[in-house]
Amino acid sequence: MPTGLTRRQTLTGGAALGWFLVSGSWLYTTAAEAVEKGFEPQTLTKNQCESLEQLAEVLVPGSRAAGITAYVDSQLSAGSRSLLMAKYVGVPTNQQEAFYKGALDAAAQALTSPNATVGGVVSAMAKDSVEGWQGPPSSFFFFLLRADALDVTYGTEQGFEALAIPYMAHITPEEPW
């Protein structure tokens, strides 16, 4: 983790919320820019990231460009400071890494099946009907991943702008999260 963080960078969770490893160097940037520049995930494997991005983009189009992969990876890397919505619904921060990795591995496995499509796997996840799924309940993961994708796509000033509604901040976040 880089040293010499500013107060605001510390408040945002330091490395978990804005620092991304890109081409061997730490950059303080948005998740979307980190993805664009080819960030190196700290917690998820590249295979897990690829599955996550594919599923999220089907659930919430635009979430790939908004940085869903970097967002989830950075939050899982933040440990007890994770801001993922999962903590509200029975997945405490100390269990989130295992939860997401387990679900993403199961999804990756499903995506390798002959004739599998991302859309088909997503639909089956919603109904808990993915053949051979080994991991957290797929419909629950579907709900949480969709919520994460909504966070990055529509939960920011840019997201509000895309919906043509005013953000009206009292204190504007210097970073999306």
């Binding site: 408040l11 089907v58 659930l59 919430v60 189009p61 635009g62 007890s80 400071r81 801001l83 919505m85 903590k87 509200y88 619904v89 029975g90 405490p92 921060t93 100390n94 859309g119 997503v122 919603a126 579907f142 709900f143 969709r146 919520a147 909504l150 966070d151 529509y154 939960g155 920011t156 997201g159 509000f160 919906l163 043509a164 509604i165 005013p166 953000y167 009206m168 901040a169 009292h170 204190i171 504007t172 976040p173 999306p176 999260w177």
Partner: protein, 514 residues
């Protein structure tokens, strides 16, 4: 290692703890408050639902079970202000019948006093904190002083939903809120931007950072942050006297001693601290009759959503809502259903996060999502049902066999709804959908049943065999140990608890100052 002895040591810097600290220090006591979470300032209240998650509980995990888990991670807070830092400012009084559900209906527990006991404290706190509303329009409102501020203006969403109540013969009134509709006591008025859940940095919403904290600091209260309390310790020479609180300050275990100790760490953690306080073969304080942790309650709630041809602009207003309906509140028997209920109507709402409209429709994905969510952003209406929970002995908080990083057992909760409560919830949700259709909704759906607010566990009562504290919150088998906050509630009613817990704290100040 021991800290300086003080007159009053309070555990928890939330709505109850800071109120007690400010008022007791003003009466001449030396007061220290231990707060498990970090120091919070108004500048930390960033307008973002993602940032807002920092304000929620971040301490030791709470294990949850039952058919209606209490949702501790969402309902609880940490740091200065506690859960009141992200509460929505819906300040309602319990109704007179809420205080005697066992006597009148044979369910749950009675309170050890009636509404008249609490009314002067409701009135006093209302004056000190500031509440806006229209007491004449609230035809069901218990007696009390008029609101010191006029009601909030109604925005488009409220006017559309009001139509549904009018057409179905139901009544509404402006929602009473501890939010400034006009400048009050040096605090700014609301700007109606719906960021209440992320904390209100302009001071319009009466969070403890702008109500009790300044008064506590002016009166010389010491607040120690990042200092979790582990347990209370009895005096070795007199078991009924509590000597102090074992806590962790700057990474070191310390014993802080005081003349009187008040545990105000919100429902689950207050109970956990007491349960962890067994010593020398003695039961934990208040637990000689196995009452500690019992009668855990939480309001079963859910939101009705609908899309309208009308433009509702649901980003306008405040998170708590704009209107209220308490029709039928005082009729608790409904065939197989039991309890009071209320509608909180026309919340300001965001597209994402747990309560967001986008999150509430997981069936809308892919290319359907953008047009749907864009329409919802301007044409959605929503309202929340809050239902009474029946206090049950076996709904309880216990200690887990798992421990936190300090070696303290985690809290474990079990909360199941009585079938009569579920029947009431289902009946009311059906009525809510009817109201939305009458208002002209073209598409109506409802969210899942969720736990709103957490109460009980250290309930007050008249005798030690059926409660943990006496009617002023003193733990039965002790001389100087008190509990404050919603854990004292013997029954839940169906209204938001912050006003009532504040009135009880005011009553406790009166008792302790005698």
């Amino acid at each position: 290692m021991s800290g300086k002895h003080v007159d009053t040591l309070i555990v928890g810097a939330g709505a109850a703890g800071l109120l007690l600290g400010a008022k007791l220090a003003n009466s001449g006591r030396s007061v220290t408050i231990l707060e498990a979470g970090p120091k919070r300032e108004l500048s930390d209240l960033i307008s973002s639902q993602i940032w807002a998650r920092r304000l929620k509980w971040s301490g030791a995990n709470v294990e949850e079970g039952g058919n209606h888990p209490v949702g501790h991670a969402f309902n609880a807070g940490s740091g200065t202000g506690g859960s009141a830092l992200h509460h929505y400012g819906v300040w309602l009084r319990l109704h007179e019948g809420d205080f005697r559900v066992a006597s009148d209906h044979g369910v749950g527990l009675d309170w050890p006093f009636n509404y008249d006991t609490l009314q002067p404290h409701y009135d006093q706190i209302q004056r000190e904190v500031g509440i806006c509303g229209d007491e004449d329009a609230e035809i069901w409102r218990p007696k009390g002083a008029p609101y010191p501020m006029p009601p909030m203006p109604l925005f488009a969403q409220a006017r559309v939903l009001q139509r549904g109540f009018d057409k179905t013969g139901r009544r509404t009134a402006p929602l009473p809120l501890a939010i400034n509709s006009v400048p009050y006591e040096g605090r700014a008025p609301c700007q109606f931007d719906g960021w209440c859940d992320a904390g209100c940095p302009i001071g319009a919403l009466a969070n403890p950072l702008v109500t009790w904290l300044p008064r506590a600091e002016a009166a010389g209260v010491t607040i120690i942050h990042n200092a979790p309390a582990l347990r209370v310790l009895r005096d070795p020479n007199k078991a009924s006297r509590i000597r102090g609180v074992e806590c962790v300050v700057n990474g070191q275990r310390q014993l802080l001693t005081a003349g009187e100790i008040i545990i105000a760490a919100f429902t689950v953690q207050s109970t956990r601290i007491l349960l962890n306080s067994t010593s020398d073969g003695l039961a934990a304080p208040g637990n000689r009759y196995d009452q500690l942790g019992r009668y855990l309650t939480s309001h079963p709630a859910a939101t009705i959503y609908g899309l309208f041809d009308d433009e509702t602009l649901p980003h306008q207003g405040v998170s708590g809502g704009q209107l209220i309906s308490h029709d039928d509140y005082d009729t608790k028997h409904h065939g197989k259903a039991f309890g009071s209920s209320q509608w909180l109507i026309a919340h300001a709402i965001k597209p994402h996060d747990l309560l967001g409209y986008g999150t509430g429709r997981p069936d809308v994905i892919g290319s359907d999502l953008k047009p749907w969510i864009t329409r919802a952003a301007r044409h959605l209406g929503n309202m929340t049902l809050v239902t009474e929970d029946i206090a049950q002995k076996d709904n309880r908080i216990t200690l887990s066999s798992n421990t936190d990083e300090l070696g303290v057992p985690l809290a474990s909760t079990v909360h199941n709804l009585d079938p009569r409560t579920i029947a009431l919830w289902e009946k009311r949700m059906g009525q809510g959908q009817e109201i939305f259709r009458a208002a002209g909704a073209t598409d109506v759906w409802q969210g899942p049943r969720v736990a709103m607010h957490i109460m009980g566990g250290t309930v007050m009562g008249r005798d030690e065999q059926h409660s943990v504290t006496d009617p002023v919150g003193r733990v039965h088998d002790t001389d100087n140990l008190y509990v404050s906050g919603p854990s004292l509630f013997p029954s839940s009613g169906a209204v938001n608890p912050t006003f009532t817990l504040s009135a009880i704290a005011s009553m406790q100040v009166e008792h302790l100052s005698k």
